[in-house]
Subunit: 358 residues, 2 copies
Amino acid sequence: MRIAVDVMGGDHGSGVVIDGVKAALQAPGHERIRQILLVGNQAEIEAGLGNARHRDPRIEILHASEVLTMDEKPVVGLRKKRDCSIARAVELVKEDKADAVISPGNTGGVVAAATLKLRPLPGVDRPGIVAVIPAPDNDFVLLDAGANIECRPRHLLHYAIMGSLYSQHILGYSKPRVGLLSVGTEEIKGNELTLEAYKLCKEIDGINFIGNVEGHDLFANRVDVVVCDGFVGNVVLKTCESLAKGFFNWLKRELTKAPHRAIGAFLAQAAFRTIKRRVDPDNVGGAPLLGLNGSVMIAHGSASAMAIKNAIRITSETLSHHLTDHIRQEIAHANQELEKLSAPAPSDGGAPRPALAP
Amino acid sequence: MRIAVDVMGGDHGSGVVIDGVKAALQAPGHERIRQILLVGNQAEIEAGLGNARHRDPRIEILHASEVLTMDEKPVVGLRKKRDCSIARAVELVKEDKADAVISPGNTGGVVAAATLKLRPLPGVDRPGIVAVIPAPDNDFVLLDAGANIECRPRHLLHYAIMGSLYSQHILGYSKPRVGLLSVGTEEIKGNELTLEAYKLCKEIDGINFIGNVEGHDLFANRVDVVVCDGFVGNVVLKTCESLAKGFFNWLKRELTKAPHRAIGAFLAQAAFRTIKRRVDPDNVGGAPLLGLNGSVMIAHGSASAMAIKNAIRITSETLSHHLTDHIRQEIAHANQELEKLSAPAPSDGGAPRPALAP
């Protein structure tokens, strides 16, 4: 497989991205990678790679003269900066010169570039970002984590399907429990969007839809795929990251308040380390953008080299599991089911049955 | 002060509520309480109170023959069950027989009963639930935590004002930082609702509006009042509770995996206990419903006796700080400011200036 990496645009500069790529090319499973195309400022990349003679022959460089920065409006920025690294990296997938693209840049920019250039899969209206959230008993996936801020019910149905497939193929769950994030578990609880999405999700037989879930269910092993709009998902994801980080700082402060506590902490340090490692966002590395004609991975803007390495690993897993093909099939199937439901039933003289809201 | 307590409708029955009331009547500050009116099934309350001779003379009982259950649609349920405990308890405030009401029942039911019977304050469209969330460095308030699922921009502005006043008068913050919860800190990031609400909030001089905040800011001491719609607020609040609980379970599991870890945990137990006590929802006890003609406190459905005791304490604080009066004044002032902004400027010949979205 061939992976294009947007080297620019991350918070920590191109150096960590290049280090992450080097690490990925030596990590277990690296033999699946046939080529890595580094996209960005050529001189900067050359400098980051160091002596050409010791370079992994699978690395290639594609020069891009511009960078879409974090504070630019995505669509405007992309129009202005036609030679920016994220646009060039996505084009490599479009032109079949790469199988997947990874970027640690401006999330909105990656979503816009990928959506405009690769286009959504047939039957998909909007791509969605999948975040994998570590929990004590079951890592769960949350989507959309921020690609689609103003969602329609049909988008949530598609996220339910994509999330279910992701957790099956990538996390290895056999029958993932798919829940719609709402303010109560009862079918009548929710906002306009979730109430309509509920009606759609319960009609589809390809997913194990367990109904509404609420915040209380997330870390209690009651749901494997949490479906919500991109606004809610982004807020929830970042809140969880903030709380986990705040918690460790708080713990550290309390544990250093007295000598016997510090000794206790020293004895128990392996326990803290285990959890800390599990909840470290760099461990996941990035979040795939699903629903497009091509594999796209959004790494954290503040991604470390380890995060980039892990993002490459997950990208290569989604590629080898042909996730995009599975999504294409299941979405087509679900859309057919919905059409049948909203089409006139043959026996009632063609009188239209009440259509499900789109 | 006189406080009406809806004894029925909580998850754990009337017993814990009555125990909480008894505890509150002996806790520090209890001398401020002139009367507690227990509303619910008289026989059940009598049994819970035990021997009448040993009863605190400040306790009175008001019989209500029905209970609004957790799974009932609020407005429908209230219409059907006119003699339900929450309706009767709220009426005591309306009839000036009580100064405040506390209920551990169906949140939607409390919001509906209180809104219908007490009516919003002049200029307020919708009441909001204030949740106080413990954080390492600064407890922050989040509102709306679930009263108003479909919000308009103006509602969020009012929540910003109410939350700011709550954190000043009840939490003692001198100049609370008010932030609008969104998907990025830049003014251009958000959904339709938050983008419009941003424009309103920045025009009002009564609050210290710091702009958008995102999930990452919540537990990093960057914001004191987090403003969002009731759907997002409810999801965020419950997610935080779930994560905190999951975290402690996870820690416990890891700490008991090896003898030296268990010894370490024993030595450091005071550190864990400090944090656990701070994040325990029962510590806060309940969430006030602000913006109505009267004081209303919603206790957790699963509130323990300690939670009820604390809910009574906070209710008595909001009453002694005349929070409702402050809200009335500030909302009136803000609405005037907004009207000025949307009114034609006198110097430009009466041509209307672009009105701010409501």
